[in-house]
Amino acid sequence: MLRLTVYFTLGFIFLVLQATLLPKVLPGEFRPDLLLFLVIYLALDEGEFSGALLAWVFGFLLDIFAGSTPGLYAATLLTIFVAVRVAAAHLNTESSLLILFLVACGTLFEGGMVILLSFLADIDDISMPVLQRLPLQLLLNLFSSLLLLRLIALLQSHGGPLAQIPGLRRLDSHYES
């Protein structure tokens, strides 16, 4: 329960950052999709049900703070969670590069889902803006994910309670046994 609360709090902080601070400091209306990173992280590290629930809740919250079609991000992030969860069973999840790869795939997938679901909501003009912004968004998401991975590793290296932060090291232990 504590882990879920921590994840939820972290997700909320990411959301607030995406809505307030990051648009102010980043040019061109771009902001890194920190929640996407968190959902991929959850897919690799959390249980199926609790992870899926959190992914949906994050999407639901994102729908409140972004876009005009309720449920779009909730469906998108949940789908990404499930896809990563299924794919993770066939991948070597010990590598941090995998998370970056999954973030890249997740960004492209999210872009596709936004176009598809918006099309279903009669917003058919969104495809061009999304496709035009996708390459830069991809780079931004990769860069922010790299920074977050470094931050997690740094926090884990401090030992004590911080060493218990779930992450690659925990993932490693799953596969070492």
Binding site: L15, Q18, A19, T20, P23, G28, E29, F30, R31, D33, L62, I64, F65, A66, G67, S68, T69, Y73, G111, V114, S118, A121, I123, D125, I126, M128, P129, V130, Q132, R133, Q137
Partner: protein
């Protein structure tokens, strides 16, 4: 006599010394206007030493004095830096108030030009995603807002309210892909529909035979049921007419700089 001298010789000697000193003094009184050789010699020998000691003491006193002075200077410097920072902050705040005042004055002038009652609101956050264009404002249903109300600034149309909670509302910007509004080109009243395409706008359904030029001003037509007539939407930046088809492709740049959106006006329903 000798016995007396032996008995009190020390005291006698002291008295004699005093007398000798007085006599010496008395003798020297006669030469007090001139330098005596002994004095000259003594001065010559001791003066350099005194000068040296005096110099050292001066140096030490100087060092001590400067050290104390430096402490004072450092403290004074710190105080001055602190004061400079405070003044810089006050200046920045004053600039911010001046700019805000100018913006609000523009909004107020614009408000006076409208024939509808308006409510001023502040933008408190932007869209949390990169794909859509919405902002959150600090007024909601408790302030009389509801979904569908138009939001404007002095420069032109901002968008319309799509979500409304008690104290906050979400505004869909005109640049969002799901936004559309009825417009007309000011110069020759050509009608069309403006849609958002990211950072720009696109004028659709503008008939091919109508001559739309770059820099033409595009206004709301008032026929869409949301925006009142005559609000500035943007300026034409490019016009493309294909060899076939009924309509021309027109792109606009929005009149409002959405990256600097801070205060907005919500047009309330007509009573």
């Amino acid at each position: 006599m000798l016995e007396f001298f032996r008995k009190y010789r020390l005291r006698v000697l002291l008295v004699l010394l005093c007398v000798a000193a007085l006599l010496f003094y008395s003798a020297l009184l006669r030469y007090r206007g001139a330098s005596r050789p002994v004095e000259v010699k003594v001065i010559a020998i001791t003066a350099p030493l005194l000068a040296m000691v005096d110099g050292s003491v001066e140096t030490l006193a100087d060092l001590w004095g400067h050290y104390l002075w430096l402490i004072d200077t450092a403290k004074e410097n710190e105080d001055l830096l602190k004061r400079t920072r405070e003044l810089a902050a006050e200046l920045a705040q004053s600039d911010e108030i001046r700019l805000e005042n100018a913006r609000l004055r523009r909004l107020l002038d614009f408000k006076d030009s409208l024939d509808r009652s308006v409510l001023a609101a502040e933008v408190i956050s932007e869209d949390a995603g990169s794909w859509f264009r919405t902002v959150l404002i600090d007024k909601g249903s408790e302030d009389g807002l509801r979904e569908g109300l138009p939001v404007v600034v002095a420069e032109g149309v901002v968008g319309r309210i799509i979500r409304c909670s008690a104290a906050y509302s979400r505004v869909l910007l005109v640049t969002d892909a799901s936004s559309a509004m009825a417009v007309l080109v000011q110069r020759h009243r050509t009608r069309g529909v403006v849609r958002g395409v990211g950072d720009r706008l696109r004028l659709e359904f503008a008939l091919r035979q109508e001559e739309i030029l770059e820099e033409d001003l595009v206004l709301t037509s008032g026929t869409g049921g949301i925006f009142p007539k005559g609000l500035v939407v943007g300026r034409v930046t490019s016009v493309q007419r294909d060899e076939y088809g009924m309509f021309q492709q027109v792109e606009l740049s929005p009149a409002v700089d959405f990256s600097r959106l801070e205060e907005v006006l919500v047009l309330l329903e007509q009573e």
